[in-house]
Every structure is written in C-alpha cells, then in structure tokens.
Amino acid sequence: MPRPWRMVPENYRSGIRSGVSKTKPLRIFFLQFMDLIKLADIVIKPKFSSICKGKFTMRYFNLICLSLLFLTLCCGQALGQVSEAEPALDFSLSAPESDVHRQYLGLLSGDSFSLEQIKADIVIIEIFSMYCPICQREAANINTLFSLIQGLPSQDKTIRFLGIGAGNSAFEIEFFRKKYAIEFPLFSDSDFVIHKKIGEVRTPHFLGLKRNDKGNLEKFYSGPGDAPHPQAFLETLLKRSKDPS
C-alpha cells in the first residue's frame, strides 16, 4: 500500500481539519512555538546582536520574538477557523441552456454566471451526486420541496432553488434530471472545483443564502437538510433566513 490507510470521520473534510485544529492543536502549536524560538535563537539572534550590541532592544530580544511569533501563530489559527466556517462562494456556473431555467434564475445573457447574479432574495442550493444513494432515494422529496417553494405566496421573498452535481459530468447531470423528472436547474461540477470551494461537503448537502442589507448573498444555512420532511425543512429554512441563530 503506497500510503497508510486512515480512518475518515463522519464529515471527513472538517474531520481532517478538526483532527488538527481541535484534538491536537495545543501539541502542534507548542511544537511550532518552541521550534520558532530555537530557530530565532540560532539564526536571528547572532545577527541581531551584532547590530544592537549593548542596546536596550537586545535585552528583550527573546521577549520581542516570543510576542511576535505568538501573534503570528494566533492570526494563522484564527484565519484557518474563519475560512472553515465561511467557505468561499465566489464561483461561477455555466448558464443553463434552457430558457425556462434562465428566466427562473433571472439571467439575461452570457455563458456563465455567479450566484450574486441570480435575481432572488433567497437562494437554496443542493449539493448532490447521481452516484449518491441518498440523493437518488430523496430525489422525489427534493422535487416536492421545489414544488412547495414554487407554491409560496408571490408577495413573499423570491426564493430560487438549484442543484450542483459534485463530480458529475454534464451527461450525468442530464441523466439524473431525466430519471427523476427534476424541474429546477441542475449544474455540473465535474472536477469538484465548486465542491472544494464550499468545503468538500458530503452529499446531499444544502446551502441557504440570503441577500443582506448591502444586497450581497450571505449564508444562513449549511447542512444535510431534512429531505424526508420537505414541508418541515422548508419551514426551517424560512425561519433560519429570518433568524440564523
């Protein structure tokens, strides 16, 4: 075996991360910290001392280094946590060929579009795969969810629903669409590019985005959803869009 096998936790993307940032963070942090101090002592201190010989700064060399390193590492950790909590949604999708779907999403022209271009107050995205048994089993329920969204009173906020096939080619997406008579727009992510950007979630996975005061889309829901209960799931989504907590 070229590489040792390793156990993959429930959510293996965040699981791998949590293995580093939750279960072993102190150990790694301490090792890094000690390594950097030793490195500073070996490499930087001799050069620094020749410049600042006898000066006040030299007396506090170790303290200054310690503080700077600590701050750098803390910032690194903080940035890592932010990127995990807020995966980037700055990806583009190929514009749908169907005029009905273009109209549904409010797209005028162009070969591709970003999520921000969708004319809606709320955008719900299902990350699925035609190879995922749960996505296959729940396809009918997702169709029901779409019908429920379509049936919402028109004076309410505009909600648009779409699916992204992680690792599915355009051919596979088309097969899945026909097989389960899916009416909402489906998009291919054959090379997992979008899947990586949104945090390599397991399928099926749902994202809920809403327009904030500045008119930008912000995430209010990210999770496995509750496809067996479409009505309850829709109510949860609507509630969360008003109060994400």
């Binding site: 490499v43 950790q77 190879y131 048994p133």
Partner: protein, 214 residues
Amino acid sequence: MSPGLRWGLKKLEYKTAMFKIYRILLCLLLLTGLTATAMAGSRGFGNRIFDPGKLLPVDSHLTVQVGDMAPDFELPAISGKSISLKAFRGKKNVMLSFIPAAWTPVCSDQWPGYNITQEIFKKHDTIVLGISVDNIPTLFAWTGEMGELWFDVLSDFWPHGDVSRRYGVLRSDGMADRALFLIDKTGRLQFAHVGDINVRPDLQIIVHELEKLP
C-alpha cells in the same frame, strides 16, 4: 575550540535550522488544512468510509486486447450464486466493472450510479457484473448500503485476485485497478478501459461504448 570543530558546529546548526524550517512549513500547511483530500462522498455510508489518499493511478498491465475472447471465469456472488461468464454467451452482452476496494470513497460512488442506469444497459441487452477482490461478507455489508442492486456483485477474493490477474488489472498491492470491460454475446472483448484509480469513469464513456456494440 579548534576552527575545524567550530566550522562543523556551525554547519550542524545550519542543518538543524533548515530542518526546523521544513518542519514549521509542514505544520503550517497542516494548520491551514491544505492537505485535505477532494472527494464528494455520500452521507449514505456514514463514517464507515476509509480514505486511502491519492494512489498510483494505474498499477497493472492489461493481458487482454479488444477482439480477444474474454477469459472465462466462475466467481461466487453475494447473492449466494456462482456466476460464470460463459453462461451469458449467446444471450447477453456483459460489462465487467472491476473496483479496487470496498468501503473506499470513489468505489462507494461508482456502483450506485450503475444501479439507477439499468434502463441504459437493458436497452443494449447488457448485464453488469461488479467484481472486487474483497471477500463475500465485506461486499455484502458494503453493497447493502447502496440499496438493492439489480446486478450481481462477485468476489475475486480466493485465489486472491485470480480473475483480476487474468485480465491484467491486479495491482501490486493486491487490489484491482478501476477497470471496465465490455464483452459481446459471442464472448469477444469489445472495450477495455483501465482508468485512474482515484477517479470514477464518466457514465458517458460507457454509454458511448454500449452504442457501438454489435
């Protein structure tokens, strides 16, 4: 301290420092999560999927060619039957789908796709035989997570990987490569595809080849 010893110590310090830099960079990489792998993975398998990491794409050499008579075999299926390739001669086209290992990410996302494409295979009078070097109990438990499969799943466990070896898809690590073979009703090989073990073959490749069958 002699100049030679001082020079040696300085060199040692430099080497130690370089080693530390590499170690720090590695730690930082781990912290930023850049080492995570990219696979979709269905929730259907819960936390029972092992990630082997990125493997050598192909680690075998085909021993069969398109136009050859496909090597015959008889293997036990998870249904309890014993399936012989010869039994389909004159009746059905056969697609053999070799997968590397049960309970791994890409393999777990391959056969469920064939399970919902039965009409495509039916249209071309073709049956699918899934083959793995795993043993029957393992395959039984694993495929049970995929729902009820319409095609037979065969175990090439013992003699270990014998059929995989005869088709030239047995890897040096004892697993099979991710391979597809299409055999027509006369028993002749019409298509052989050994793809990157880390990637699932696109359904379109299969459909395209099914359409070419005599």
